[in-house]
């Protein structure tokens, strides 16, 4: 039995908000640099240079990578042998408040989706998984909404051909077009239920973008599914990069940096497929206590 205090969780989440928003993930930065070295379109190359410069300026001057510091999505992997002293969800939200304030991040959350009202930092979306062991893993994914707005879900027939699924994913990227800050990272969730496929698509964004392994580190061990998705990821990436959307939608072969697919068993009557698009500023940070 391990005891972790609410205060420790708050401090950790606060630090993660700042790290995620100011310090671009190394795998994302590497993927952008690799794309830059392969990009032949001059304007696309210049834009990728600006994106790389932006990451360095953000780190050096302690400014947010993007002014849209996102909706804070928090993934909690809670070991079943951990005892939390205090209120877990309150501790997480307090950490978001503190971190966003300290990092001079943006108040982007309205408490009333229809009436709107004054924007604040919280509540975060908190996703809790109970896993084996005595560790607590906290991940903050600040999700910008320019790209979140481009998410799609389709409930396919179980007899659907792989080509139909691929077409849906590529069309979702095409529909996002120049609007959601390409080059994108495309998260895809296949299987489960309508809601679970969407969650898988979001979780897919947590995975490293430099290598597509077809497995999600954030999924509990029992849920890990090795599938043929690795080849599918590579095929989709090729198809998407043939769309000629390019950085800022102005052409070039860098439309997506990666396609990450997560799968889960599903019902004999269905085949849910969800797409969650991330802009090039894919931000997240993780700490294990």
């Amino acid at each position: 039995m391990k005891i972790i205090s609410a205060k420790k969780i708050t401090e950790t989440v606060s630090g993660l908000c700042i790290k995620a928003n100011l310090d671009l993930r190394n795998d994302v930065l590497s993927a952008i640099k690799l794309a830059r070295s392969r990009e032949k379109n001059k304007r696309a190359g210049n834009i990728l240079d600006a994106i790389i410069a932006n990451a360095f300026i953000a780190r050096k001057r302690k400014l947010a990578i993007c002014q849209d510091t996102g909706l804070p999505y928090v993934f909690v992997e809670l070991g079943q042998d951990v005892r939390i002293k205090g209120d877990l969800k309150n501790a997480v939200n307090k950490g978001i408040e503190e971190g966003y304030k300290k990092g001079f991040l943006r108040e982007s959350i309205v408490k009333e989706p229809i009436l709107r009202g004054k924007a604040g930092y919280t509540p975060a979306l908190i996703q809790i998984d109970i896993v084996r062991g005595s560790k607590l893993k906290l991940t903050v994914l600040p999700k910008g909404f320019g790209c979140e707005n481009k998410g799609q879900l389709k409930m396919f027939n179980p007899t659907a051909k792989i080509g139909e699924i691929k077409k849906f994913i590529v069309e979702a990227v095409k529909a996002a077009g120049p609007d959601a800050c390409p080059p994108y990272v495309v998260g895809v969730g296949i299987g489960g239920t309508a809601d679970y496929a969407c969650l898988l698509a979001k979780k897919a964004l947590l995975r490293q973008v430099t290598r597509s392994q077809g497995q999600c580190a954030s999924l509990p061990e029992g849920d890990k599914v090795t599938s043929r998705s690795s080849k599918l990821e590579q095929d989709l990436l090729k198809d998407i990069n043939r769309l000629n959307i390019g950085p800022m939608g102005l052409g070039g072969k860098t439309t997506a940096l990666a396609v990450n697919i997560e799968t889960y068993p599903t019902h004999i009557a269905g085949l849910p497929v969800a797409v969650n698009i991330s802009c090039h500023a894919l931000r997240s940070a993780t700490v294990t206590l």
């Binding site: 849209d68 991040l105 943006r106 709107r116 004054k118």
Partner: protein, 174 residues
């Protein structure tokens, strides 16, 4: 050579072609979703506007908070198409420039042609970089909207790409 502009008069607008890369030194005003809704409402009710729209340039942006000792926080462009439904009445009132990211509706592109205005792109998802082109920033109106307030920004060599020119030519519709 890249063009330099400081304001959008008839001559400057006529000289801008789709695809041109230009640097802007001058005054721009931020406005995004809710500021647009309010501006459109004020126009409808014939109320006084917080700034003169004649010849003005609007930047679709909601900056992050300003860290101590800095002029402004991260401040890149937001998706322009969400402003499309409010844009026509602003153009009618003399708005000449818009800066954002992504494509515009056919209706807006036609109105840009009709009113001889320009729509620019700037580096999207690069808010920290964009902050380095800003020399001064003040909240001008709608302070209660927080990041969606209207800021008056003095920018220097702010990088732009002409996306829809005054002839209605659109960079995304080749």
């Amino acid at each position: 050579m890249k063009k330099m502009i400081s304001f959008l008069d008839k001559k400057a607008i006529a000289g801008l072609r789709v695809g041109d890369e230009v640097f802007l030194t001058g005054i721009i005003y931020t406005a995004r979703d809710r500021a647009h809704k309010r501006l459109a409402e004020a126009i409808r009710k014939k109320e006084r506007l917080p700034f003169n729209l004649k010849g003005a340039i609007i930047y679709y942006c909601g900056p992050a908070k300003t860290p101590k000792g800095r002029i402004i926080g991260s401040c890149g462009p937001t998706t322009s198409s969400r402003m499309d439904e409010f844009t026509l009445c602003l153009l009618e009132k003399g708005l000449k420039g818009m800066i954002g990211k992504g494509d515009r509706s056919g209706e807006v592109a036609a109105a840009i042609k009709k009113y001889k205005a320009v729509y620019f792109l700037t580096y999207a998802g690069c808010g920290a970089l964009m902050a380095s082109y800003i020399r001064s920033a003040e909240v001008l109106a709608y302070q209660d909207l927080g990041p969606e307030a209207i800021y008056k920004l003095h920018v220097e060599k702010f990088p732009l790409i002409v996306a829809v020119d005054s002839k209605g030519r659109n960079i995304y519709k080749k």
